[in-house]
């Protein structure tokens, strides 16, 4: 446990340091310096932080509550779409068609007025609220229906996959009013500042990093709380917890909604950094990739999910750049190897090594045990 605490602090420190130093290097250092990070790398790391936040949110439901959600990226994408709507409204009359109110794709579809569900998104505050409420509400509705009727295990996994698949099909439709196939893109401003500027990119990186740290600390506190213990107990012995008089479905619902909101937040931060959101974010394979990030890092540890997300995505960036063909082979191999040989992920592996190493040291130095006590 002490190891875990140490690693936890280490991860937080690294995130904080990177989130602070990269923007500083980018903004303050002169051109040509080795630590003058490019705008591309700033956005790339910002993207990793968002993925890490998404992985962390999945770890809360999968690692702690034992609910394998195969559609968690749906909440991520929904948050992203909400942010995308805000950014679209900020374009104003600078679009290709120059319509002051309607986004380009609506003009293209010959729509005459803004649909009701696009109202209010020109306000950042409202959009920010919706980033949490939209995924949260979907999770509440879906979770309430699912947990109340005690849908568990693979059944739950499969219908969450169906959920994200259905959403993907829906968002592909032009009639939905979310840009169809192309999604939302060509953003210009966020809060009045150009989204392309280095300062905004740096600030977005810093915000993502800080939110990731806050989420880590919050998650840690939650896991240690009485409620977290009940949730872990549900994962291990659901019927027994129910017999003890706990309303299992409420606990599950709570953690599910909380996690969906975190995922939505991650999506909302992701969209301004990559500059586009489209329906492929809903695709079931994306959701499965999130699961593998958590599995690689080690589930049920929160910071493991963060490490997993960053490592797998870094590998993806490298491999898709060098040899695109290799990437799917490697991803497939990761799935198989991690599930078969690393049930506790990389974190579990390191923990195991550290334990063995300290045990050996204790054996080698006589009297160490007494000293240790």
């Amino acid at each position: 446990m002490k190891n875990l605490d140490k690693s936890f602090g280490l991860v937080i420190a690294v995130i904080l340091l990177v989130s602070l130093l990269m923007p500083l290097g980018n903004l303050l250092l002169p051109e040509g310096s080795a630590f003058k990070f490019s705008a591309y790398s700033i956005s790339l790391v910002g993207k990793y932080w968002c993925f890490a936040l998404l992985a962390l949110s999945l770890d809360l439901v999968w690692g702690y509550a034992g609910i394998l959600v195969l559609g968690h990226s749906a909440f991520f994408a929904l948050g992203g779409y909400v942010m995308g709507m805000y950014l679209m409204r900020q374009i104003g009359d600078r679009g290709v068609y120059g319509d002051p109110l309607l986004p380009d794709f609506m003009v293209f579809l010959n729509w005459k007025e803004l649909p009701w569900y696009w109202q209010g998104f020109q306000h950042f505050g409202f959009a920010g609220l919706m980033v949490l409420l939209v995924p949260g509400f979907l999770a509440l509705l879906f979770g309430w229906l699912a947990f109340r009727s005690r849908v568990t295990g693979v059944y739950l996994s499969i219908i969450t996959q169906a959920l994200t698949y259905a959403l993907m099909l829906a968002f592909f439709r032009n009639e939905m009013g979310f840009g169809g196939n192309n999604g939302l893109t060509d953003f210009k401003d966020i809060l009045g500042f150009s989204i392309q500027s280095d300062a905004v990119r740096s600030l977005l990186l810093l915000t993502s990093g800080l939110l990731l740290i806050i989420a880590l600390l919050l998650g840690q506190a939650l896991a240690g709380s009485k409620m977290g213990k009940v949730i872990t107990a549900i994962r291990d012995q659901e019927s027994r917890v129910r017999f003890l008089g706990y309303r299992v479905e409420y606990f599950k619902l709570w953690i599910f909604v909380f996690s969906a909101m975190l995922a939505g937040l991650a999506g909302a931060l992701y969209v301004p950094q990559v500059g586009i959101i489209n329906p492929s974010e809903f695709s079931p394979i994306n959701a499965l990739e999130v699961v593998i990030w958590v599995a690689v890092g080690g589930r049920g540890t929160l910071y493991g999910a963060v490490i997993g997300a960053i490592l797998v995505n870094y590998a993806k960036t490298l491999l898709t750049g060098l040899m695109p063909e290799i990437w799917l082979f490697s991803l497939g191999a990761i799935f198989v190897i991690v599930t078969m040989y690393l049930p506790r992920g990389l974190v579990g592996l390191f923990d195991h090594w550290i334990r063995r190493w300290t045990a050996q040291r204790q054996l080698l130095t006589p009297g160490a045990q007494e000293a240790g006590l």
Binding site: V154, I158, A162, Y165, L288, E325, F329, G332
Partner: protein, 542 residues
């Protein structure tokens, strides 16, 4: 006898006629050489008249077809008409009049007889009229159908004449229908009333168009002046439209059943492995993909025997996918026993692996797989209902596979063991059933059926690396909806989802229909978390 001197003689005669202001059109009963000469040198109206007459002369089919297909030529030297035979016939050229084979001719010596669009239409009719006397009932029927589109006074008379001697029932019925249609338009009032009454039961688009026209107004007046006839026509139209709707519903039902058949095929393999081992095989879609590619490979090896290759690929795909399945079970799933969620992830990894393998070997593009002749085209039942053969065969095929699978599970030793293990693994082991071996064989069986499903899919959809992915969510839905451990649940679920999809489509569009079905299943699972036919007893709690 000297042909060319004859023709020269006629040429002179014609030249005389024309110069004296007598059009040869006036002659009611021209002889064949005269008509041919008109075709060669006459004006377009002359040619029309000649074709009208040739249509009534026996034995001019070959000539008319040649003219229509641009194979009727004129010998530049002496103006003799020559037919260029179709490729594959023994002689290349023959004389249009005497039909004797002509040798020592060259294409450069010939010039084509020109026709225009009006003449082409006339030719179509004339050819159909000629074919009305064909010995083969099938070509007679085609001729009647062609005439139906080009009806006029003279062809109606010819049809009525032919009806007296027609021996084939189907042809006679088709002719009678055309004669009635003609009477409906042009007969006296009594004939028209009778024609409408007897045509009411006929399914023909042409009839609908004509009746529709009879009930419409032409600005202020009705196109049909007689109000009695008009009312009868309107009543008949309503009756026929009711039938059209019924046929449309039947067609939708058929589409639904065929979609259901595909779903059942792709889901039963999944249902077996899920039911027996509690394992979700995410690579199931990719095993189907392997089956589809097996068809492609076999067709590449046997390019001259596409039908044989397709039939052969059924067992081959079963073996290929089955072996791949056994390998997955032995290599991975066996080690993850009792951890269904991990199995799900590991098999997903396998699916990515297989996808990329296929992409690397066969390229990411879709590969074209041909259908055997007997599977292409459609079964035209009447003007309003036609069923495509490939979907029809897939429906039959999926029922066969299903039946076979039920028999295997019911009657064979393996089936008995599979059922025992799925009901109570520990007890089955205690009774001496080698559960590991049963697992491997079950997984092989389920995977093999996925391969067979892939063969079926290759006939109706694109064969590409993403083939599996596009069906996997649907097949999961079928299994979840039908419930585990009961193959009839899968059958019922597959067909009802297929039919529901196709009936929703006209109202909601294809994508929204699919979304609605998915939402329905998500809601349905809340009510019955274990599907339509849940497993009962102790097995449930595992």
């Amino acid at each position: 006898m000297n042909c060319s001197s004859h023709i020269k003689f006629f040429c002179c005669g014609l030249w005389l006629c024309l110069s004296l202001g007598f059009s040869p059109l006036l002659r009611a009963e021209a002889t064949r050489p005269e008509l041919l000469e008109l075709l060669r040198s006459g004006t377009m109206p002359d040619k029309e008249a000649a074709i009208e007459q040739l249509a009534n002369l026996p034995d001019s089919l070959e000539l008319l077809q040649a003219l229509q297909e641009g194979r009727l030529m004129e010998l530049k030297a002496d103006g003799k008409l020559v037919i260029v035979n179709r490729p594959g016939e023994p002689a290349l050229f023959s004389d249009a009049l005497s039909k004797t084979v002509l040798d020592n001719l060259d294409k450069s010596q010939l010039s084509k007889i020109n026709v225009n669009n009006r003449i082409r239409t006339l030719l179509k009719k004339a050819i159909a009229l000629q074919q009305l006397n064909d010995a083969d009932a099938g070509s007679r029927l085609l001729a009647v159908e062609a005439l139906g589109k080009l009806m006029d006074q003279s062809s109606a008379a010819r049809l009525a004449e032919r009806l007296q001697t027609e021996s084939d029932d189907a042809v006679a019925a088709a002719i009678r229908r055309l004669v009635l249609l003609d009477q409906m338009q042009n007969g006296n009032k009594e004939q028209r009333i009778q024609a409408i009454a007897s045509l009411k039961t006929v399914n023909s688009q042409e009839l609908v168009n004509q009746l529709q026209a009879m009930t419409e107004t032409d600005g202020e007046h009705f196109k049909e002046a007689d109000s009695d006839i008009r009312n009868l026509a309107a009543a008949a139209l309503i009756e026929i439209k009711g039938r059209i709707q019924a046929y449309a519903a039947m067609e939708t039902l058929f589409f639904g059943l065929s979609l259901g058949a595909v779903l059942v095929l792709s889901a039963i393999g999944l249902a077996i492995t899920f039911g027996v081992m509690g394992v979700i095989n995410m690579a199931h879609g990719e095993l189907m993909m392997l089956g589809a590619y097996t068809v492609y490979v076999l067709q590449q090896w046997l390019p001259d025997y596409l039908g044989l290759a397709t039939m052969l690929s059924i067992p081959v795909a079963f073996i290929v996918a089955g072996l791949a399945g056994i390998a997955i079970e032995r290599g991975i799933i066996r080690h993850l026993y009792g951890r269904p969620l991990e199995t799900l992830l590991a098999t997903f990894g396998v699916s990515l692996f297989l996808q990329q393998t296929v992409r690397s070997i066969f390229s990411p593009l879709n590969r074209s797989v041909s259908s055997p002749d007997w599977m292409s085209g459609s079964w035209q039942i009447n003007d309003f209902l036609s069923l495509t053969w490939n979907r029809f065969y897939i429906l039959i095929f999926s029922l066969l596979v299903f039946g076979l699978l039920v028999q295997i599970l019911k009657r064979t030793r393996l089936g008995l063991e599979v059922r025992a293990v799925s009901q109570n693994r520990a007890m089955a082991r205690a009774m001496g059933i080698p559960s590991g071996q049963v697992d491997a064989l079950t997984f092989g069986l389920g995977s093999g059926i996925a391969g067979i499903a892939g063969v079926a899919l290759s006939q109706i959809t694109n064969v590409g690396p993403n083939l599996g992915q596009s069906y996997i969510v649907d097949s999961f839905m079928v299994v979840v909806f039908g419930g585990v451990g009961n193959l009839y649940g899968t059958l019922l679920a597959g067909f009802s989802l297929g039919i529901a999809n196709k009936f929703l489509e006209p109202y909601a569009g294809a994508v929204l229909a699919k979304i609605l079905v998915l939402v329905f299943i998500i809601l349905f699972i809340q009510k019955r978390p274990r599907g339509l036919f849940p497993q009962k007893g102790r097995a449930v709690e595992n």
